[in-house]
C-alpha cells in the first residue's frame, strides 16, 4: 500500500458506517487539511458504493478536525445506471464535522463528447523544477509541491498580488494518482489569498466541490489555483488540474473565509 492509501484507509464497522483515521502528514498547524479530509470521505464512499470514482463531490466543513479516528456514515440517496448518489457525514469524537454529498461513477466507462476551451497553465517542465524547502510545513512530508507561479512569496516574501498559484504536484513516495487522490490534491496548494496578503495563517474552507474527469496518466499533476473575487472577507478558489499528458483531470471550487490578523 502506498502512503496515501494507508493514510486514507477505511474499514466497515457497521451497515453504512466506516471508520478511518486522520494521520499526521498534511496538517496546517493542528488542523487537518480539508482536501485530505475529503479524500478519506471519498475513500469511504468508494468502498460503500458500486462505482469507484467521484464524478462530483461537495463538502461543507462545519468544524476543524484533528488527528485520530473518524467515523463516516453513508446515506445512499439514489442508484442510477451509471451514477450513484450518496451523502456522507464525518464524525470525530461524536461531533458532526463535515457533511458531504457526491455522485459516483466509473470514469473509464463514460462515453460522450470531448472539447477543451482552455490550455494548461504555462510552466517549466517538471524535471526543471525543484521541490519547496521541506520542513517548514508538515504537508511537504507527504506532497512534493513545486510552485512555478507565485513562488516568489515563499522565496523572497514578495506578494505576487495576482490571486494565482501554479504548481507541479505529486506524492512524495511517487505513488500513482487515482481519482480519490484528486480530492486531496484539489486543496493542497497555498491558498490564493496568500498571493494578496502574504502567508497570514489558516484560511478556513466553508465548502469545497471537486469534479473528477479522468484517471490521471502516470506522473505529476500540474495544478492552478486562482481567486478573483474577495467580498467582505469571502473568497472563492478555483482549481484546475492537468495530468502529465496535458489532459484535464479535475476541477475544484471552494468558498473560503479570509480573516487577516488584527
Amino acid at each position: 500500500m502506498s502512503q496515501f492509501e494507508q493514510d486514507t484507509a477505511v474499514e466497515r464497522i457497521a451497515e453504512n458506517r466506516w471508520r478511518g483515521e486522520f494521520h499526521p502528514g498534511v496538517r496546517i498547524g493542528t488542523a487537518v487539511n480539508g482536501g485530505y479530509v475529503l479524500a478519506v470521505i471519498g475513500r469511504a464512499l468508494q468502498s460503500a458504493l458500486p462505482h469507484r470514482d467521484p464524478l462530483s463531490i461537495n463538502a461543507f466543513y462545519l468544524a476543524p478536525t484533528g488527528l485520530g479516528p473518524v467515523d463516516i456514515v453513508i446515506e445512499p440517496l439514489q442508484a442510477g445506471k451509471g451514477t450513484t448518489f450518496a451523502s456522507a457525514s464525518l464524525y470525530q469524537e461524536g461531533q458532526l464535522k463535515v457533511r458531504a454529498t457526491a455522485a459516483y461513477t466509473d470514469l473509464q466507462l463514460l462515453r460522450g463528447e470531448d472539447w477543451c476551451g482552455a490550455e494548461p497553465p504555462s510552466a517549466p517542465a517538471f524535471a526543471e523544477t525543484r521541490p519547496l524547502e521541506r520542513g517548514f510545513l508538515e504537508i511537504h512530508d507527504r506532497i512534493d509541491i513545486r510552485l512555478t507561479t507565485g513562488q516568489e512569496l515563499f522565496e523572497t516574501g514578495k506578494k505576487p498580488g495576482t490571486g494565482e498559484f501554479v504548481a507541479w504536484l505529486r506524492h512524495q513516495d511517487g505513488a500513482a494518482i487515482d481519482s480519490v487522490d484528486l480530492l486531496m490534491f484539489s486543496d493542497i496548494m497555498p491558498p490564493p489569498p496568500f498571493s494578496l496578503f502574504g502567508a497570514f495563517g489558516w484560511v478556513p474552507t466553508v465548502e469545497l466541490t471537486v469534479q473528477c474527469r479522468r484517471i490521471p496518466a502516470p506522473g505529476p499533476l500540474l495544478g492552478r489555483l486562482v481567486s478573483r473575487h474577495l467580498s467582505s472577507g469571502i473568497i472563492e478558489a478555483d482549481g484546475d488540474f492537468w495530468d502529465s499528458e496535458g489532459q484535464l483531470v479535475a476541477l475544484s471550487r471552494q468558498t473560503m473565509k479570509v480573516r487577516l490578523p488584527a
Copy 2:
C-alpha cells in the same frame, strides 16, 4: 408580493418541514428549471434559519421535478456566530428529488477585505439591448433575458463555438433581485454546450453550487456563463453575476451531462 415571491412561497407544515409549489413559468419542456428548484429550497432555508442569505448552497439533482406541490425537509447541521449550516431534502410525490446543503449568513453584516481580480464582461448598456423573442421558451414569461454574447445562435442558428454566453437578466415584472433570486438566475441562461453543439435539448444538471456575495443594487444583472472542459460528455458551467453598479453579486458552478441526440 412579486411574481417570484409567489412562485417561491413556502409554508411551514411541521417541525423542519416546509411546503411549496412548483408553478409554471420556468420549465424547459416539462422539467422545472433547476435554478428555480434551488430558489424554492433556498426560500425554505431562509424561512427556517436565523440568517437570510445563502453564503453558499450546493444541490445534487437526483431526478427531474414537475409542476405541483413539493415538501422540503430541513436538517439543521450547525449554528455558528454568523453562519448557520443546514441540509434540505426536496420531495415530490414522496420521492427524494434534490439534496441540498447550505451555509446561510446575513450578507449585509459581513465585514472583511474586498478585492477584485476580474472585470465584468463587456456588454452594451441594458437600455441598448432587446429582450429575446418571447414565447419560444416558457422561461421568457418570467425572465427577461437579453443575450449580448452568443446571441447569434438564436438569431441565425450559427454556433458561436466559444462555450460562453453573456446576458442582461431581470424579472419580467421588474421586481428587485434579492439573494434567493440569485439561485434561480444562476441557472436561467442558455447552457454553454448550446454554444458548441446548437440548442440540442435538455442538459441535465448533476449538481450546482451558488455563492452569494452581495445583495444586488436595483436594476438588471449582467451574467456570464462559461464552459471550458467537456470530458466524455461531462461539462462544467461557471457563472458570474454582476449588478447594475458593476459589483459581483454571485458565483455559480455546476456539473452537467451533455447527451447529444443520436
